[in-house]
């Protein structure tokens, strides 16, 4: 889960979800799938509808079939499964470019076109690095360093990249 916003609320939210995940593992003897965690996060956020977690989240992971999924949230738990998303102060700079590169065709088109843009792991990582480099140029709050968490069938690995330090 990647979160932007008020860091204290982000930490509290992460702590809460980690605790709930541990309970799930004790009760069900397995890890939570991404869609399950997506629903849990939504419910957790809406629970505090009238005193929200000031946290804008993007959840990424693998579903039960091993396919990648991305869920995007607002601060009170409204969520949607999408192919790509961004949140935070840099999101206005990043989203149009992602739309341009990845946008699925309209479901109203005939003949019906597949909505999933096939994106290889290396292409996806490259795209992430490009958009963050661009966002760091123009957004004063974005920069310093980038952490990319890559989740695939082999497990989880982290990649780091330096960004503009101003």
């Amino acid at each position: 889960m990647a979160s932007s916003g008020f860091q204290a609320d982000v930490k509290a939210l992460q702590k809460h979800l980690a605790a709930r995940h541990l309970i799930y593992q004790h009760q069900h003897n397995k890890q939570m799938s991404c869609p399950a965690m997506a629903q849990l996060l939504s419910n957790t956020l809406y629970y505090k509808r009238f005193f929200p977690y000031y946290s804008f989240n993007v959840l990424g992971g693998l579903d039960n079939e091993g396919k990648g999924c991305v869920f995007t949230y607002d601060a009170v738990g409204s969520y949607e499964k999408v192919g790509y998303s961004s949140q935070g102060s840099g999101s206005t700079l990043i989203m149009p470019f992602l739309d341009n590169q990845l946008k699925s065709p309209s479901p109203l088109l005939l003949p019906a076109r597949d909505a999933v843009t096939p994106l290889a792991e290396a292409e996806a990582i490259d795209l992430v690095k490009t958009v963050f480099a661009s966002a760091s140029e123009r957004d004063i709050y974005t920069g310093d360093k980038l952490e990319i968490v890559v989740i695939n069938a082999d497990g989880i690995r982290r990649e780091y990249m330096d960004l503009r330090k101003d």
Binding site: T92, L93, M95, P96
Partner: protein, 204 residues
């Protein structure tokens, strides 16, 4: 709602190799209602200087009329066209005259200066100039345009490639902004010709 977001606008100017492109959206709205889908935001001052005005539509039209008037006077006195740098200074001065009751516009000026060197600049509503070597943006879609242009811009693009880049950046950005869109208007200017093209995008 801010007065700058009353009509909705998107403007971008980009520098290429001995050429520049200036582009705008075509929507004129009154808050959430769309009034016109063919609104001209970019005007030609002379063959080598173009002016785009984002922000409040009425102020954009009035400011344009005042600037055309001043430029025609300049042409009569100096017997030549204004350089883009000079024109930018004129716009800045006119805007600052109204420092405590401003025009609610953000201009984008693009032109070919001496030795056909492309010149672009933007300013805020009270005339603070911002020169740039690569691109400038203005309007309600400006944040989106910053991101799209920053990712897509390359140095020294030829006019055809510059047109493609500006068009893609503009269309992707206005698709994210509800107050701008309904197509695009792109001018690509080289020392020899001016190419004006209309883009068809999402009409919503």
């Amino acid at each position: 709602m801010s007065i700058f977001e009353y009509n909705g606008s998107a403007l971008v100017a980009m520098v290429g190799k001995n050429c520049f492109a200036i582009a705008s959206d075509r929507r004129l709205g009154v808050q959430l209602q769309t009034i016109a889908t063919d609104f001209q935001r970019i005007s030609k001052i002379h063959d080598r200087v173009f002016l785009g005005l984002s922000g409040l539509g009425t102020d954009a039209q009035t400011l344009y009329q005042r600037l055309v008037f001043r430029h025609k006077l300049y042409q009569l006195r100096e017997e030549r066209d204004m350089k883009p740098e000079t024109f930018a200074n004129l716009v800045s001065a006119l805007l600052y005259e109204k420092r405590f009751g401003p025009y609610f516009c953000q201009p984008v000026i693009a032109g070919l200066g001496d030795e056909d060197k492309p010149f672009i600049c933007t300013m805020d509503s009270i005339g603070a100039k911002e020169l740039a070597k690569d691109f400038v943006v203005a309007g309600t879609a400006s944040e989106f345009l910053y991101g799209a242009c920053e990712s897509m811009f390359k140095e020294d693009m030829e006019p055809e490639e510059l047109f493609e880049t500006v068009s893609q950046a503009l269309l992707s950005s206005v698709d994210r902004d509800c107050l701008s869109g309904w197509g695009g208007h792109v001018y690509v200017v080289t020392p020899t010709e001016v190419k004006e093209r209309i883009l068809k995008g999402r009409m919503d």
